[in-house]
Symmetry: C2
Subunit: 344 residues, 2 copies
DNA sequence: TGTTAGCACTCCAGGCGCTCGAGTGCTAAA
DNA sequence: TTTAGCACTCGAGCGCCTGGAGTGCTAACA
């Protein structure tokens, strides 16, 4: 275990390094207020910390840099999440105070806002619609054997699916279909849609709808919704290039192109069920991100996790501030969605 | 005017430079098949071309590089748009052969596809919905004084607006409202919606709807749709970093951050009414893009321009290939939309 | 008159060596 | 246990040099 003095020094090194982006030497550290020992003492402690793997030296006559293990210890044991500064808080609140109806738009706004606040890259995974419950189904016939099915969920999200069917289906049948659907289907999670429909509706439809096969075909198409991918919003990717660790263009490019692959992001993104998850360096298990940290939080609807927000940046990151901001934002998003869903 | 030989040399320099990304010397040019003169002759011509402003020299003992004026002359006079190679054509066709219902999804797919084909950054301005005509309006009441208005357009695009109204409005009134709306509003461009509604509907509603003020309030909210910004899709922005001209990280960052500003893109983007527009270097009238070229095309619906696609890259760009691809794609998009709209 | 060979000149990229400053580890004293 | 002092190490930055690529000019040639 680390002595209190070692912990103090490790903290100080990390905080300085996050600010300066340059290896921290013993002389520079000694100028810190909380640090009352001479450079020589610090040097001894640094040597010990390095031996234990919390620090590394880029080269023999340079200062020390925190290692992945060092950051991990800092995040787990040394960081005390303090109060967010008022200015940031006000700014965040102002965004959620706006009247925004579209969940999509909220995701986009959040991505922008966080990228401004943190100067890092923001990843927002839009609300998973497949766990949401249906509130209403509507079919809008367009004529010519086509229609648009509109599914409104719990959280006010609207999914639309284009549907084709035999043009011989009567307007009456469509109406009946919609009525029956709404009777049976409200409150069912989208992911369960197909199962529920087949289980509960087949018999009923047979009785009420003239052209049974067509109705089933329509149902089938409506059920295509759950296969949609999760929506991914990226904000402030250009911020990355401002970080000195990405002055190597090749590295920056490989990460940017990762960010362009939505499916990858959706799979890889940390989905901690509660609290905030921090993945440092190699913990990301992705070569390209071995010098990056991802801090991620989850937002919910009715207690169920429905989406995620995260910050991607170099391991040299202001963990404290970013964690504060993410914690606040995920909570605000949860409240926002809840307000939205319950007010309907 | 340029002599034929000067034109030949200018062409050759541009084509070589696009491939090599390095200044082209007289010796290297002389190895070209079509060029039968000695390096010395070429040097003389080069000196003339430079004097006239079609070429520049990065420094005294380097080869020549095409200037903005040089590219412009090439695009305007030397480039003959040939046939696109079969492979590319097949690939493009395969994308449009898929059944895709959502116009949004098409835009996204096109952005991805073109970025793969061209290794450049792709910008797609989604179909302007405000010039499209309404096909159908539906109101889905959610209870509690809220509803979702669904506007289906001509091209199959679906817009949704959340609407709030006094909870005292009766279900009957809503139904009447929708019926009246659909009677009057079908075929009206979204941008004209508000005007039409006020002109034609006010009187009618007064007669048929009990709570007139509420109905007007609802209309008002429905009319918020046209104020949406144009949808912007960016694909392959990371490709930019692979170009040697963007190895300067600062430059790359300033351009990437431009690309993140949707409003800027929507305003600045070239919107040639027909054909393909090429903006070279300073022609973009944006400091950050003074070394970039944008090639843009327009796609239509029913003859009316509704959206745009473009490629952004360094001025050193394969104009021929990019123009072929854009030309094909914009036509394919137009056909796609037309098929979509007419089949309903 | 237009084209070409030859040659002197220019300039940059890249390698080498040097210096300077920052930072360390070690030793010995407090 | 802490600290002062000192020798040592290493990299960043600067200047120097050289080789190669490419030019412009001149003079010869068809």
């Amino acid at each position: 275990m680390l002595t209190p003095r070692q912990q103090l020094i490790l903290s100080a090194i990390i905080e300085d390094y996050v600010r300066m982006a340059e290896p921290i030497g013993s002389r520079a550290l000694a100028k810190h207020e909380e640090i009352q020992f001479s450079p020589a003492t610090i040097r001894n402690e640094m040597a010990d910390l390095e031996e234990m793997g919390y620090l590394t030296q880029p080269h023999a006559s340079a200062g020390r840099v925190p290692s992945q293990k060092g950051y991990r210890f800092y995040v787990d044991n040394l960081l005390r999440l303090g109060q967010m500064d008022r200015e940031t808080g006000e700014f965040l609140k102002s965004v959620f105070a706006k009247r925004i109806d579209e969940v999509e738009q909220v995701a986009r706004e959040v991505a922008n806002m966080l990228s401004m606040l943190t100067k890092q890259t923001v990843i927002v995974l839009g609300p998973k619609t497949d766990t949401e419950k249906l509130r209403k189904i509507e079919l809008i016939p367009l004529g010519g054997g086509r229609a648009i099915a509109i599914l409104v969920t719990n959280s006010g999200h609207v999914e639309t699916v284009h549907v084709r069917f035999s043009s011989e289906m009567e307007a009456d049948d469509v109406e009946t279909l919609v009525r029956v659907l709404n009777d049976k289907v409200v409150g069912v999670p989208i992911s369960e849609l197909r199962r529920t429909l087949y289980a509960e509706l087949a018999g009923e439809l047979h009785r009420t709808v003239a052209r049974f096969e067509d109705a089933i075909a329509v149902l089938n198409e409506v059920c295509h919704v759950p296969q949609r991918e999760e929506a991914v919003y990226i904000g402030g990717a250009s911020n990355m290039l401002a970080q000195p660790e990405f002055h190597d263009v090749g590295k920056a490019q490989s990460i940017l192109s990762l960010l362009e692959q939505n499916e990858f992001i959706a799979n890889w993104f940390p989905k901690a069920e509660d609290g905030i998850e921090v993945r440092i360096g190699a913990e990301n298990a992705v070569m390209e991100l071995k010098d990056c940290t991802v801090i991620a939080a989850t937002y919910r609807l009715g207690g169920v996790p429905v989406g995620h927000i995260g910050i991607l940046g170099p391991t040299r990151m202001d963990y404290n501030r970013v964690m504060q901001i993410l914690s606040f934002t995920s909570q605000a998003l949860t409240e926002f969605l809840t307000r939205f869903a319950s007010s309907g």
